[in-house]
Amino acid sequence: MHRHACVLCITPPHLLQEIARNGSDLQRETALRTIITSEQIRGQRRAMRSVMSFLAAISAGEKQRIVYDAKQGSQLPGTLVRSEGDPAVSDPAVNEAYDGCGATYDLYSDVYDRNSIDNNGLQLKSTVHYQKGYDNAFWDGTQMVYGDGDEDLPAEQRLFNRFTISLDVIGHELTHGVTQYEANLAYWDQSGALNESLSDVFGSLVKQYQRKQTAAEADWIIGEGLFTANVNGVGIRSMKAPGTAYNDPMLGKDPQPAHMKDYVSTIEDNGGVHINSGIPNHAFYVASLEMGGYAWEKMGKIWYKTLTDKLQARSTFQDAANLTSEAAAELFGTNSLEQQAVSKGWAEVGITVNGGTPGTGDGCLTSILRALGLAQ
């Protein structure tokens, strides 16, 4: 730690940047690492980001997608089947993963000026056909993984289609990567539910952006197309009306609350991260509807700034309410319509902006340790 800090004292930042731009590969890499490390030691996200955007500018700045096939096994990543620029293949799951990553990259790049998951052009890696009868998709910390649903069952028993079928699911998984590189919200209890909610928010925005739908026109469903016709349901979650996405004899009823009074305390699912996410999800929906127009333009920017600048690993719902309001004021002005819409969104789910005791935010030391990857 100390050593890197001193390197910065010896080599002035402008010179490091010069080397990073024009040096040999080895010099370049060393200089880049030094810039990153010394900025991380300062523990300041703003400084970090100026470095990251500098790095993004000198790297390719283009999307790099790569899709693998696990061939129903568990080995990751599996066999390479499509790389960036390759033409479409005959397997729809491969093309959906490829195109879905493209649509997600485009939203982040066009609207939020973000270059991929790490804002530094990270390759977007997906594996399809993971295991047999695997009704799930996940982010393993480095890549997206998709199962084929109930492909192994007779058609009349199938409840799930392949998971790449749903664009918002792809946006959801990729956003787990973004969150990991930004707020790094701990995946349990309220911080975990916020992590889940951010994935739903940006997953839904990917779909809305692609369809050019306003907040009023969008369906706000997560997992559209995931269920077969055998299921009585429209998707796995509804941000517009949490708790109403499905009600089926085989699957049960959508358990999501839309208000703090119905917050579910449980130890399952890491403290109900996929259940209580209904509360911040609905706040985002109400705020977006209140604002009108395209949700990615105003509310999306406020939530993105909150994710990248403000939230911390153990942030709570109350923190998120306060910080989105703060971000709204910074982006659009105090008492702006945008800030009022944010307050209205949270009020609707039973949270008053700046009305409660914010959760214990991380101190300075923890931020530094986390920036260095030494603490959660």
Partner: protein
């Protein structure tokens, strides 16, 4: 011998479970499950979980009970050994085809 299986988490966060009494299974199926459990030395297995939760990953809890011993392990797709994954695959398929809401 009895096996209980619980899957939680996943992008849907929906719990799925199964309770099996091996005496009620066709003999060949019961036999292959017993072989699988022996092969992995189930009663000596310990929890095998990644250091931090995988977003949208499944979490599995498997309990095997005999007349004399009961043992439970917790694991995930990312951390389970191949033989344990084979057991999870078998139990998941049974659970999915007799889906009941909890």
């Amino acid at each position: 011998m009895w096996i209980t299986f619980e899957r939680s988490g996943g992008i849907m966060g929906r719990k799925m479970s199964l309770a099996l009494d091996l005496t009620n299974l066709p003999e060949d199926e019961a036999q292959s499950l017993r072989l699988l459990l022996d092969e992995m030395n189930f009663f000596a297995l310990q929890d095998d979980l990644p250091t931090s939760p995988v977003p949208d990953g499944f979490h599995y809890a498997i309990t095997v009970r005999t007349e004399t011993v009961t043992h439970t392990i917790h694991t995930t797709d990312m951390s389970a050994s191949p033989s344990l994954r084979a057991l999870i695959q078998d139990l998941s398929t049974r659970a999915r085809t007799q889906r009941k809401p909890i």
